[in-house]
Symmetry: C2
Subunit: 212 residues, 2 copies
C-alpha cells in the first residue's frame, strides 16, 4: 500500500473518499458516463474494492457526483448574484466559475439514470438563480436582449468540449472561448439577429427524462 501520509487506516479511508470523488469527477468529465469504473479506481490510486465499499454501484457514484455538482452550481450562482456589484460581473463570474468546476460533466449523465425529486428541486433552484442573474444583466443593458437563461445552459455545455494535449491547456482554451462568447453576449453596435428560438426549460429537461 502507499500510505505515505500520516494517520492510520481510518485517516486513509477518509482521504480516499475525497480522492475517489475527485477522480470520478475528472474521469467522467473526460470520458463520459461510459468511462470504466477501473479508470476511476486507477486515477484515484485505489483498488476496486475500496470503490465499491463506498458506493454500491456506478450509478450511485454518478448520482452522488451529480447532486454535488448541482449544489455547487447553485451556490456559485447565488453568491455571484449577492456579492457582485453589477449583473454583468455576476454573469461573468458565474460562467467562469462554472466552467472551472467542470459543470459540463453533469450533462454527460443525462438520461443515464432516473432523476430524483432532490435533483428536480436543485435544478429548479439553479434555473431561478441563473434567470435572476440574467434579468439583472439584461435590465442594466449589459447583455443583448435576445439571450435567455436556456442559452446560458447550452453555452456552458458547448464549452465543455475537451480536446487539447494537456489538461492545463484544456482549461486555458475553455477560458479563451468563454471570453469570446461573453463578448458575443454583450450588446453590439450592429448585432446580428440570432436565428431560431432560444432553448426552453422543458426542452432542456427532456434530455434527462427520456431514458433510451
Amino acid at each position: 500500500m502507499t500510505t505515505s501520509q500520516s494517520g492510520g487506516r481510518k485517516a486513509e479511508a477518509a482521504r480516499n473518499d475525497l480522492t475517489v470523488l475527485n477522480a470520478a469527477r475528472e474521469v467522467f468529465f473526460e470520458q463520459g458516463y461510459d468511462a470504466p469504473m477501473s479508470a476511476i479506481a486507477e486515477r484515484a490510486g485505489v483498488g476496486m474494492g475500496s470503490l465499491y465499499r463506498r458506493y454500491r454501484s456506478k450509478e450511485e457514484l454518478a448520482r452522488c457526483l451529480c447532486v454535488l455538482s448541482m449544489k455547487g452550481t447553485n451556490e456559485s450562482a447565488e453568491r455571484a448574484l449577492a456579492e457582485e456589484s453589477s449583473g454583468w460581473s455576476a454573469l461573468v463570474r458565474f460562467m467562469a466559475e462554472s466552467i472551472d468546476r467542470g459543470v459540463g460533466m453533469v450533462a454527460q449523465f443525462a438520461g443515464e439514470f432516473p432523476v430524483t425529486p432532490e435533483m428536480v428541486a436543485l435544478s429548479e433552484r439553479g434555473a431561478a438563480a441563473m434567470q435572476a442573474i440574467l434579468d439583472r444583466a439584461t435590465a442594466e443593458g449589459s447583455v443583448r436582449p435576445d439571450i435567455t437563461a436556456g442559452d446560458l445552459v447550452y453555452l456552458l455545455q458547448i464549452l465543455r468540449t475537451n480536446s487539447a494535449p494537456t489538461p492545463t491547456r484544456v482549461t486555458t482554451l475553455r477560458t479563451r472561448y468563454l471570453t469570446l462568447l461573453l463578448d458575443g453576449l454583450r450588446p453590439h453596435p450592429t448585432p446580428t439577429p440570432l436565428p431560431g428560438p432560444a432553448p426552453t426549460w422543458p426542452e432542456i429537461s427532456t434530455r434527462w427524462t427520456q431514458t433510451p
Copy 2:
C-alpha cells in the same frame, strides 16, 4: 427487399452507396467513432452484408468519410475566398457551411486510425485556405486581431455539440450559437483580452498522431 425506386440491382447498388455514406456520416456525427456498424446499416436501410461488401472494415469506411469531409471543407473554404466580396463574408460563409456539413464529425476520428499522406496533404491545404480567409478579414479590420486560424478549428469543434430533442433543433441551435460566436469575433468597442495563447497547428495535429 424494398426496391421501391426504379432501376435494377445495379441501380440499387449505386443508390445504396450514397445512402450508406450519408447514414454513416450522420451516425458517426451523433454517436462518435464508437457507433456500432449495425446502427449505420439500419439508418441506411441496408443489411450488414451490403455494408461490408463496399467497405472492408469499419476503419476503411471512417477513413473514406474523413477524406470526403476534408475535401468538402477545403472546397468550401476556397470557394468562399474566391466568390465572396469581403473577408468577413467569406469567413461567415465558410463557418456556416462547415457546421451545416457537420464538419465536427471528423474530430471524432482523431487518434482512431493512422493518418495517411493524403490526409496530411488535405489538412495542410485546408489550413492554408482558412489562414487566407482569416488574413483577409483581419486586414480589412472586420475581425479582432487576436484571433488565429487555429481558433477557427477549435470553434468549429466546439459547435459540434449535439444535445437537443430533434435533429432539426440541433441544427438550429448550432446556427444560433455560431451567430453569437461570430459577433464575438468582430472588433468590439471594448474587447476583452483573450486569455492564453491561441492554438497552434502542431497542437491541433497532435491529437491525430497519438494513438492511445
